[in-house]
Symmetry: C2
Subunit: 207 residues, 2 copies
Amino acid sequence: MNTPIQSNTKEQILNVAERLFAERGFAGTSLRSVIGEAGVNLAAVHYHFGSKEELFRAVVSRIAKPVVAAQLERLAHCQANSEPPSVEAILEAFLTPPLKVICSGGEPGINRAQFLGRCRTEPDSIQTIAQQEFEASEQSFLDVLQRSLPDQSRTELSWKLDLVIAVLIRVATEAGKPNALLQGNSPEDIHLVVSRLVRFLASGMRA
Amino acid sequence: MNTPIQSNTKEQILNVAERLFAERGFAGTSLRSVIGEAGVNLAAVHYHFGSKEELFRAVVSRIAKPVVAAQLERLAHCQANSEPPSVEAILEAFLTPPLKVICSGGEPGINRAQFLGRCRTEPDSIQTIAQQEFEASEQSFLDVLQRSLPDQSRTELSWKLDLVIAVLIRVATEAGKPNALLQGNSPEDIHLVVSRLVRFLASGMRA
DNA sequence: GTCTATAATTCGATAGAC
DNA sequence: GTCTATCGAATTATAGAC
């Protein structure tokens, strides 16, 4: 069984890049600072990722992929129960996966939350990269929301979902801090927080 | 009249620091990059502000002071009309001043919005500095909210107000972009956006 | 004082040996 | 896959003409 051992260089770079991007932002993080802490060669970054932007995209993608998959699965599940689903069910499907993934990671989890928050204050060219990774999910949720709230324009639902995401990211970034909404990372903790957020947001979506 | 002319060195440093902190974050901004663009000596920073952290606080403070003052004035005004005021009136008093200040500045206004967004993704030690500058206002609004919504615990109102701020900052940061909620900066634009946000948030505050 | 030319640095990216 | 060496672009600093 000569299964080629996956070098840990790639993952090492991703781990350091995730933390440094979270701490210093995209422009503030040089590739040389990443390879320094990761203990790898500069050329390895370009070999594995191609460019700094693609490295950034890979960091986003590693976070986004399981989240988006879980969101779409939950969305399909609640559509199977009723079509269109209630606003509450849609919000629950949207909010639960990111909170689960981000909270179940300990120290790296905090980095990921901070990283996602950072993405939204980056210049447009970078913010777009992050946006693209979550776009498929957001469009699907917008489609279902549109059917659940047919009286509202796409534009209106669009900025409302954007504000839902702002709330979600704030909760994730603050997780674990004193007085934060989200303290532990047990399924019960997450379920409680999601139901509170749904109550906080659902009527605003309808308004 | 030997009134000492206020050197513009201090303001110059503040202007450049505001922009660089917004673009690169606290850690990503070196004092040398600030003094470089400001055209002043490194020692001037320590003379006027004492340290990099205090410079950061000064930048926050310059943004926060007029915003907080206007918020408290509006809060007092709506308390004069009815005590306790409605949730809608409280939210309107809270949201209007920052949107006005941030939107009426052109290019620097965008910097300020981005800066405030950045603050919330900084490490705790830095985030705390920003928090302190807005604390007086937030406490006052929490007090009034508490009387307006006596059934909810302080803790509950606290995280809800925190999410209101997350929404506010998102709207400010996105201002002017395509599909953004806030496009222009006329009083009518701002009033329309505030009323939409109040509708989006008010029922969630009560839930 | 202001402007231009250029030297020095930093950074992302690539080629080629191993 | 990893390394050394180097390129080209962008930025910053300095020198010198006017």
